[in-house]
Symmetry: D2
Subunit: 329 residues, 4 copies
């Protein structure tokens, strides 16, 4: 979803002191001490390569030797464990699939915190439960290190092109240091507040996105059944109070827009499985904070059912197709 923010972020840049886009070119190469990188998956590998491209020595590790080998070929030094990386680098980025992986990599027997140096900056770009981010921050602080959460918007393509958006939570004083690295890997960096705020912002956005997408799919389907032309209906909605990103920028009905997954049989884009995972995290945070999220909760269940009905790997806008099929067909 890298394209989601294109253009529109300009205004954010103007209005918020916490958004910084340009690399600080005056920063001397002397600052380019090694950066640790843990988690070399589909996202982590291109992110780490962008650090290398920007002249930062990278010291990395991952459970998969193949991933390590690939990054080694691009110039990174590979070590055995997160603890080993922590021994050598005072800035470390982690990009992992889920909360348990983050807990293991930070606090496990070979985890970062076993050998982290005082003053080390730890940036976690995984999408996880904000409460886990807070736990990690507390654990890091006990060791004299600083932990920030910085989950991303944007997929593998955006990661390769350094066009990710980072939503950052953590101590404000450390934000500049984090930003130096993140701008090598992303086009936008937004400071969201204390530790966990980055995760919170991402989960909030994706929950509203899912609600808007399903709502758009239902509405377009209803309009079509009532005899409206889908393009005309989209046009009316987009100039009225029904307007949302899913209706005007990512319409789920084939034939309404070009260049979106609905125009390509719902290939590419943001997979239903990933959306279901994010909604599960949003649901957990809502449960933990005793917040009522009736539509968010139902959206979660719908994407969960879709995963079970063969839509796991299609773009999340395929909910239109899921709901639409004619009875009896």
């Amino acid at each position: 979803m890298a394209a989601l923010f294109r253009g529109s972020w300009n205004s954010l840049r103007r209005c918020s002191k916490h958004v910084h886009l340009s690399l600080d070119f005056s920063r001397s190469m002397a600052s380019k001490t090694p950066v640790g990188f843990i988690g070399l998956g589909n996202m982590g590998t291109p992110m780490a390569r962008n650090l290398l491209k920007n002249g930062y020595p990278v010291i990395a590790t991952d459970n998969f030797p193949e991933s390590c080998k690939e990054l080694q070929d691009h110039g990174a030094q590979i070590l055995d464990t997160p603890a080993d990386v922590a021994d050598k680098a005072d800035r470390i980025i982690t990009m992992l699939p889920s909360s348990p992986n983050v807990i293991e990599v930070y606090t496990g027997p070979n985890g970062i915190l076993k050998r982290v140096k005082k003053g080390t900056l730890l940036i976690d770009s995984s999408t996880i439960d904000p409460s886990v981010s807070k736990e990690m921050a507390v654990a890091a602080e006990k060791m004299g290190a600083v932990f920030m959460d910085a989950p991303v918007s944007g997929g593998v393509g955006a990661a390769s092109l350094a066009k990710l958006t980072f939503m950052v939570g953590g101590v404000e004083e450390e934000y500049n240091a984090a930003q130096e690295l993140l701008t090598c890997m992303g086009a936008n960096v937004v400071y969201c507040g204390q530790v966990g705020a980055g995760q919170a912002a991402k989960l909030c956005n994706n929950m509203l996105l899912a609600i808007g997408m399903i709502g758009t799919a239902e509405t377009m389907n209803l309009g079509i059944r009532l005899g409206l032309d889908p393009k005309l209906l989209a046009q009316i909605l987009n100039m009225s109070s029904g307007r949302c990103w899913s209706s005007d920028s990512y319409n789920p009905v084939p034939g309404v827009m070009e260049g979106v997954p609905s125009a390509n049989n719902y290939q590419g884009g943001y997979g239903t499985t990933l959306m279901a995972k994010d909604l599960g995290l949003a649901q957990s945070t809502a449960t933990n904070t005793r917040t009522s999220v009736p539509l968010g909760s139902l959206a979660h269940q719908i994407y969960r059912i879709m995963c079970a009905r063969g839509y796991a790997n299609k773009d999340f806008s395929s909910v239109f197709q899921f709901l639409r099929e004619e009875e009896g067909q």
Copy 2:
């Protein structure tokens, strides 16, 4: 909700041959034969007055003598029944609370169709079930008359200022004749397709609006509980894929925007009762067309519960307040 369309309709005007805004000043006053008007409620009265202001003689009726008296004072002729009006006018506008009223006024024992003249243009601006619009069109056609549905967006204020938006369904050849009258009462007129299409477009828009509003309320509430600043969260959403009209133009969280009902204790705006009514109609059309609308259906239930919990007369963005209250308070 008159403001909803302000500005944004310019683009629609440019892109659709069916949107016409300017009065056709070349039309001679000779065309200003009497216009019938049935239904002089909060909306109908200012609409009829705008016809008078534009030089059209108005022949009106309503069940409430007070309403008739008021319009009479402004120059209208008052008759006893819809049938009487049909006897005198060959263009009639109806503005009624619900489907049964429309059925009565058109097909009842003293209804329009009892004495309608061949070729009469009947325009119904009530918000009702599209299938009732279609029934009325069939009944009108049997009498040689033409029926169009033209429900409005915009409240009493927009009606007074002739700033309503009309979504029109009906035979395309009669659209110009309808437009002549509707432009006296509204700022925007959109042709949506065959009879019932105006109702369909309105119900679709309002269903997606309700989903977006509840979704925004849930999301903002969750973000606040997670420690995010509401203004910053709105800013992030509005530049991201969570963006929708409810987040960027009508934010339901007090303090985030000015000039919206959430800034005024949810007074004014679009009442929860009206939204619940529209969602009930959308639900009925979905049931009749066997369309799955899980979020639309839940949105309907939530607004229904709110009506029962004291929110009937507050603006529909008060769902934020409804969901937010702290436990134990």
Copy 3:
């Protein structure tokens, strides 16, 4: 669902003065004047045959000549239109697919009410919107006739075996007369109150049934995923507060019970399409009475989605299968 009531109705018989099971054998054959029957579908045909078996002359009509021919072969007299039937019979039973059919058969140009005789007893066994039943009752009363609603529980098998359950609404004084005929076609007849009350009771029961069934499916699925043995889980639920008809008499999990559709690949039983139709009616009555039914509404949507995903003709307990499928399979 004929089996649903087997046995358990004994207690109802004991406790309610309005439940009568035995034929009144003292009633003389003289009372066996002709009975009209309109609607010879899958249900109507065996019902009419049971009237014939009980010695009642039957005068029938239907749109499908084949259906008429079949009943004619069993001894019924066939006429052209409902009006013709009304001309010859002073007790008429109707069994039609939906509200519009009922309206047409009663109030259409060739409808019953065009030629109904004063004092005629009209019994409608269709499952329709209670408000339509009330309209028909008003229209019938204007003609001096009496209308009662008497929808059934039980499918084609129960209809053939005269094991249907009738839920009856209408003027209490006419209940005995209705009961005389209904007991020829059903095993149980329950008086529910004024006109529309039979429909209301049926819709209420089926809404709660659908909620209980989906809830049981979700719960059993969750328990199995958590490692519980499904038979043991059913046993625990059935002795605890989770107990419901769907868990103890119609368990949706294959292998837990015998003799239910889940033991037979969800063949037979009560089809998902029929359940979706009933839930649509329940939804409409809830909307019309402004009643909040959040779970009933979601149950409706789930059965609607199932109809669109290939489950239309499976028993409604197949919701277990619909929800269960493993992700990635």
Copy 4:
């Protein structure tokens, strides 16, 4: 909810080898070595007292000195920390509010596992996430101890009267030893399977219970709005396929049954807050196992909203009142 199981468990006893009710009076007093008890809240205190009544020496601890003092007055020995208790007792029961408390009491710096003796039997009667139970079992096993989960049905009254129901998960060989203690505190003990199965069974039951209760409330409300007598409607449902525990044993409509919370302004019974907590746990386990629970999820949200709208301390059947209130009142 102690009464929920009254009577009906007899059949379970007959059919399952894992249910044992009678105390084994032949067991010699020699077996009455001290029992540890941690967590002396509203539930824990009467449970511990029942152990004392049965002749077991109790060694207890709690964060609240008052609670400790009270139990001390009844003959218990009080120690400072869970670790201290573990040092003295080889059978320990824990009864704590939530997952984090359990984690702290077992694995915290002064936790049981710091000084647990090999072979100690650890029984946790808290209602928590089954995955936490499994974690505790693994941690206990590492220290050579055995952990079982045994959450209860039944409130403070049932705890005082030793009428609780225990749902037990854990190694089958240890079940007899657990049962010896649990029968002192409860009327029913059910073996559900491996560790976590007790929690799973309880969460499953309560999720289905909540769905059935809300469904019953919606259905009764709809029927009443449609003009049905509530007692007659309950009677019809209870003999039909809509029957469930909430309709026939705990009806939420005032006036339908006696001796239930709805007959007493929803005082007593099982509080909405507790139901919301259980549903939150069920939701979490569903999310973690990627199980679709659309009605369970919506039930959770409804109880969550009720907590925020003033129903936190009313019995969970008050959902009838929550949904019912007339519009405009």
